[in-house]
């Protein structure tokens, strides 16, 4: 079950900075950010466009590397890993969910889900079994042979979630998972993510603009211009989001 009391955080970020060069501009996407995320937590990063949310997500998921600082995720210091080592690490420890689902259109739902299992030593039968289990968890047990084009947006995102959990990763990373969905589907997806946390003890890190998300997460972090907001600033940002969402409860807004 969930080990929230564990003293070792699943994600430990220490003084991490990241800058990009866009044309002639040097953009500081993250500035000396420090943060811990405990195992079994469902947290959201919120903030306006360009605040550094996606950059932080890329760093936590091992897609990108920081310029400065230390980044320890699932017991691995990611700073010094090569691109190939990071790929291998992601396959073992990370499940990724994207805004636009990004399923392979020529593969049926079950095959899309089984895709990350190709990188394991499991045999074909076991891969199939696990893919079907993952589909059952997301409520699509009856649609294993459906191709993405025959599924609704919400269903496609469920398949993407099944793909993210099929390897039983330590950490699920969701980048705007409700961004391309209608209100009803978005609510379903947030419920599903919550279920993964409560029933399966998964640690979920989500970037979102969706104020509804505040009702589902354990904690919401607010970023602005590459800086993590704290204290009053964080409270103000949280209140503004709650206002936009029409009320609701944030379990632990602003940490």
């Amino acid at each position: 079950m969930v080990d929230e009391a564990s003293s070792i955080p699943l994600v430990a970020i220490r003084e991490v900075s990241r800058h990009y060069t866009r044309g002639a501009d040097d953009v500081l996407a993250l500035q000396s950010l420090s943060l811990d995320i405990a195992r079994g937590r469902f947290v959201a990063f919120m903030g306006p466009s360009g605040s550094g949310k996606s950059t932080l997500l890329n760093l936590i998921s091992g897609i990108d590397r920081p310029d400065h600082g230390e980044l320890m995720v699932a017991g691995e210091l990611l700073n010094d890993l090569s691109e190939d080592e990071l790929a291998e690490w992601r396959a073992r420890h990370i499940g990724l969910i994207f805004q636009f689902f990004n399923l392979i259109p020529v593969l049926a739902a079950r095959d899309n889900v089984a895709l990350p299992l190709l990188l394991t030593d499991l045999d074909k039968r076991e891969r199939r079994r696990r893919a079907e289990t993952a589909l059952r968890v997301v409520g699509l047990a009856n649609r294993p042979n459906h191709y993405p084009r025959t599924l609704s947006g919400g269903e496609q995102q469920r398949v993407a979630i099944a793909r993210a959990i099929v390897t039983d990763p330590d950490l699920i990373i969701a980048d705007e998972p409700t961004g391309d969905l209608d209100a009803r589907s978005a609510e379903d997806i947030l419920n599903l993510l919550r279920k993964l946390k409560t029933e399966f003890g998964k640690t979920i890190v989500m970037v979102t603009h969706d104020p509804r998300a505040l009702r589902f997460v354990d904690q919401a972090f607010h970023l602005d211009k590459g800086v993590l907001l704290e204290g009053e600033a964080a409270d103000r940002a949280s209140a503004a989001i709650q206002l936009a969402a029409g009320g609701g409860s944030v379990r632990d807004a602003g940490a």
Partner: protein, 388 residues
């Protein structure tokens, strides 16, 4: 889900494009396979008409120049020579045509059997050939062309000698591709003398048969040495070499065709590479996602390369199949008509099949390696930024 299944699914994503690209590769491989049969086919063709113990002796200045008839007798004395037959161009036109439509020669009838033991000529017909002064032995192709029968009389008007001769056909060379007409040289000799001339004191060509293929080179050297510093120095060559010179221009054509084919292959590689690049570009989002979920550079490279190689190999296999079907058809046609007979010599052999498949593999690897490597080496964050 397997890697093979993933490759297959990706190949089927744009069926028309895969079909067109595969079709182009298949046709190119078929063309190359067919052309690869040409050198061996020509060689077989030459082997069919040429003996490895027969030597052609002709004037060093060219085959239109002659040699003294007496030289034939000297050639017969050379060690290792079984027989030698003088042959002189008559240049006879069949009266119904008025022009020379088949090669016709005055030959030594008593030497034919010894020089051409491999020619299918009935012994009785050979005996008749020597018995009748005006006898002629004709190749089956000429016989068929004019509908001649044994025993029939035909007249040829010479375009070289001042005599027209009337011949009695006494035999046939039962060889589908034999296009010639032989008659006794004494007949021409006597006809020329009757006209007040000096008779036929020359030989246009001397065909020599050696006892042993191993002695052929020595015999040729000896004969050419014998004629050195004479008025008619000779140039000896094997029968295969002699015919090969006739096919020389054809072999040049084959070389040109092979060069053009090489260029076609290069074009196909470029087309296939372009298709592969387009496919990779169109799927850059998916490739970025695969990388993000943990597919490494080597895996991505291998998967993309495998797609192009699989397409090229399957298409190449189809191309080899097409070439096999075409050569089967050619062999069927070869049996229908004498003039199509040589088509039967062009055969797709196992080495040609292996080369065709190797070429397909080569096309696949060369076409796929650059786009696959380009997609694999891009960093995942760069790919994701570009796509999302």
């Amino acid at each position: 889900m397997t890697y093979l299944g993933l490759v297959r699914a990706n190949l089927g994503r744009n069926k028309l494009r895969a079909l067109l690209t595969g079709g182009a590769i298949a046709l190119a491989v078929a063309l190359v396979c067919l052309l690869m049969t040409m050198p061996a086919g020509l060689d077989t063709l030459l082997d069919n008409v040429a003996s490895n113990t027969r030597i052609s002796v002709h004037n060093k200045a060219g085959i239109v120049y002659s040699m003294p008839m007496s030289f034939t007798r000297r050639v017969r004395q050379v060690d290792g020579v079984v027989a030698a037959m003088a042959q002189t161009w008559y240049g006879g036109a069949f009266e119904e045509d008025g022009k020379v439509t088949f090669p016709n020669f005055a030959v030594e009838g008593d030497q034919v059997a010894a020089v051409y033991p491999d020619y299918p000529i009935d012994p009785q017909q050979l005996a008749d050939f020597q018995r009748y002064r005006d006898g002629a032995i004709v190749g089956r192709q000429v016989m068929r062309k004019y509908g001649w029968k044994i025993g029939q009389r035909v007249t040829l008007r010479s375009t070289v000698w001042p005599v027209d001769l009337d011949f009695r056909i006494v035999g046939e060379v039962a060889n589908e591709r034999a296009p010639f007409f032989w008659f006794n040289r004494q007949y021409l000799d006597q006809a020329l003398q009757a006209k007040g001339g000096a008779g036929l004191g020359i030989a246009g060509m001397i065909w020599v048969r050696a006892a042993d293929p191993a002695k052929v080179n020595a015999i040729m050297r000896t004969i050419d040495e014998m004629s050195r510093n004479s008025d008619a120095e000779t140039a000896s060559e094997t029968e295969k070499s002699f015919f090969s010179n006739f096919f020389g221009s054809l072999q040049g054509l084959v070389t040109i065709i092979l060069i053009v084919t090489g260029l076609v292959v290069v074009c196909i590689v470029v087309i296939a590479a372009n298709t592969a690049s387009m496919t990779v570009r169109e799927r850059s989002g998916e490739i970025a996602i695969l990388k993000a979920i943990g597919f490494g550079r080597r895996t991505i490279f291998a998967m993309l390369l495998a797609e192009v190689v699989a397409l090229a190999t399957v298409a190449g296999g189809a191309g080899v199949g097409i070439s096999l079907a075409i050569t089967e058809l050619m062999q069927a046609f070869a049996g229908w008509s004498d003039s199509l007979g040589p088509l039967g010599n062009f055969v797709i052999t196992p080495p040609v099949i292996a080369k065709g498949l190797a070429l397909s593999l080569f096309v696949g690897v060369v076409a796929g390696i650059v786009p696959a490597w380009g997609a694999a080496r891009r960093s995942v964050v760069e790919a994701l930024h570009e796509v999302f």
